[in-house]
Symmetry: C2
Subunit: 422 residues, 2 copies
């Protein structure tokens, strides 16, 4: 089914906010086997909205609109869509009830805010529409069907839109499909995007059902395997040999086969499984690796100490990097990375320590060590290995890549038991 996404809101057209809703919904639609042919953004303007919605309903089967469902006069998505599709608006008693309860609570917590008559326009719905409860705000979602065309209206804030989509719209759209669509993710690290593409080229060329779609992220490649079938069971059966084949080809570089699992979660899980504690000694990444580890709820079980040793003095004082090392090899060197890792283990009394030191730019590069040169060290069981990396891009990009590759490097070291001799 041809699908179109419409985001409503002048704030997007002013560049005030980045339209992440469309990326989210596009990925979900791909997962559902819906073909998104267009994404459109239009402002809170009745005439232009009407034209855009008409065009969308002409050329697409499913139109998903986000935004413009709020209580102000500017919020027109429901009114305009109902008008274009020829539905009158009527009050929905259930929505009115939920709205009143929500607003009462809100008024209690925000003494200076008063409920206005405008608020109640949110309980008006197009006649015959499917009403989707909003558990995180006041605007209900709506699904309207007419002449084989479907319009789905969702609130704009991602915190309201996403749960509503997951809980109500995703299963609804899945039921519409003549076949079941089911997909599984395979997440890979420690191999570049082009190498992954090359290694699966034959699979992609001969694919029909299931299909494999690669998504490149910083330091990671995600492969989504999507199957169509008569039941989830049949889809799983179709997907299984493909996942098996990918496991054969990418082996331990696959860190997750679960949609939501992040690389930092995979790392934290490994630490937990092996009963290890982690310390971090960061220079150019400046705390980014620690921040990603702390992203994982419950990381405190395995991670207690991070050192951001941005100055040479800090590297010496807290990690015991030798003055002679800094003088002879510099702070950006294999030797310094190793001493940082060893010192981090000792200072934090941790089982393992990952260190990163590099030149993020824009200054500080030399002919021998250009901007983007990064050394990483890992100390574990009194063994230490180090690796040299070369990244490109601006300061932010280099640090982002360093962080992603550091997590992958740490994972590799744990897989190998850091067995290589220093």
């Amino acid at each position: 089914m041809v699908t179109e996404l419409i985001s409503v809101g002048t704030e997007i057209l002013l560049g005030n906010i980045v339209n992440t809703n469309s990326a989210y919904l596009s990925e979900k639609c791909a997962q559902l086997g819906l073909s998104v042919y267009y994404q459109t953004v239009v402002g809170d303007n009745e005439e232009r909205m009407k034209a855009v919605i008409k065009t969308a309903l002409d050329r697409s089967d499913v139109v998903i609109l986000t935004g413009g469902l709020g209580p102000t006069e500017d919020d027109l998505t429901k009114e305009v869509t109902a008008d274009v599709m020829g539905f009158p608006l009527v009050e929905d008693p259930h929505s009115r009830e939920l709205l009143e309860a929500y607003l009462k609570q809100y008024e209690k917590n925000n003494a200076q805010r008063r409920i206005t008559a405008n608020n109640y326009k949110q309980a008006m719905v197009p006649e015959g529409a499917l009403v989707l409860d909003n558990h995180n705000g006041t605007a209900p979602g709506l699904i309207m069907e007419k002449n084989g065309k479907i319009a789905v209206l969702l609130p704009g804030p991602p915190m309201e839109m996403k749960p509503m989509f997951e809980e109500e719209v995703f299963p609804y759209l899945r039921r519409l499909q003549p076949e079941i669509i089911f997909s599984q993710m395979v997440k890979i690290c420690s191999i570049g995007e082009s190498q992954v593409a090359e290694e699966i080229q034959d699979l992609i060329e001969e694919q029909s059902n299931p299909t494999i779609a690669p998504y490149a992220k910083t330091g990671e490649v995600h492969l989504r395997i999507t199957a169509k079938g008569e039941s989830e069971k049949e889809c799983r059966k179709l997907i299984k040999p493909v996942v098996h084949e990918l496991k054969t080809r990418f082996g331990k570089n696959i860190f997750a086969t679960d949609e939501d699992k992040t690389l930092e979660e995979a790392v934290v899980d490994m630490l937990k499984d092996q009963g290890l504690t982690l310390a971090l000694a960061e220079s150019c990444t400046g705390g980014e690796i620690a921040a990603r580890i702390v992203n994982v709820p419950g990381a405190s079980e395995v991670f207690g100490h991070g050192f951001v040793t941005y100055s040479n003095r800090a590297k010496r004082k807290f990690l015991g990097v030798k003055k002679t090392t800094l003088k002879a090899c510099g702070a950006v060197s294999e030797k310094c990375a190793k001493e940082m890792a060893r010192g981090g283990c000792a200072a934090a009394k941790s089982d393992i320590c990952l260190s990163v030191t590099g030149i993020a730019g824009p200054d500080g590069g030399t002919k021998e060590k250009p901007v983007g040169t990064v050394f990483m060290g890992c100390c574990y069981n009194d063994k230490i290995i180090a690796r040299e990396f070369h990244f490109t891009g601006n300061r932010t990009k280099i640090r982002e890549q360093s962080t992603a590759h550091a997590l992958a490097f740490l994972r590799e070291c744990m897989l190998e038991g850091v067995s290589k001799k220093e």
Copy 2:
């Protein structure tokens, strides 16, 4: 002039990448006084691209397209736009020369890659088009004019698109405007979005030239003041009293009046100006504050040591937080925040130390200290102050807000010379 943005690329429709180009270009267009009425995304499909480009040239004066200028057969933006506007493609000798030089260099660095005939299609340009050099890739940008309509074609990768826009397209579009548009940014921290909105409501209600547009960022509010006039000088004259009025109203809470200056840069500049060194003691933010400080090139002058003390043991060992404090008040307490800040100063021998300890969730909240409770401490000149914050949202949001408010809190403390008694 009515403006429309078109992003070309199936990868956006699959949700593979977030469309940040449109947000960037929308903000730039607002700055130029161009009214962006539509943003559209279309895939690499000739028929659909043709329809979308035709519609855009019908309803808008300026159409800015990004993506689809590469060397592969899928890249069709130039061909389709030239066709729709009725321009034949001819080889541009200058582009051919630049392309050959770039590819030779590339071949040298990437031994396994060979230049194919396809690459040379990038030197073909619509007859009479203005060709924009690409200093960061192979695809030149293009500007075509016909019958009062303008099409601007830019490469898709932001690292190529942005410099080309800044250097070539921005001045070009500015010249087209009957009047000069000039804008200045005023960036505010330490005050909430709604309070800022309230305090400038009268200014916004009476505004005509210049206009004030608020942009809410995490922990910051940006106000863009835009004037139209016959010269930049006239615009500056119009803007000056508004900036003056904003300075009167928001005083020291304005941290920048410069488009590109970030809050972390403002903080690093203050530290440099006052000749102070900074240490950081982070618990729930887990290194995010350090990472933002290290974002600033040259931060090493003022920042050398960051402690990510995620465990109580680390808080005790590296920052000297007392066992009794942890036992009596808990790690998330004013007392702990103060001891962390004092201990950070002592351990790093820094002039100032900022500490953050809080509950980012999803677990760990209690009735007295719900998820989102965060204490910050600042030690300076042997004086220490602390403040309690309450944030909402998920773990990521709470940590992001903690980081932004910590930078603002640090700035406030420096402004006040941390004079309050403990």
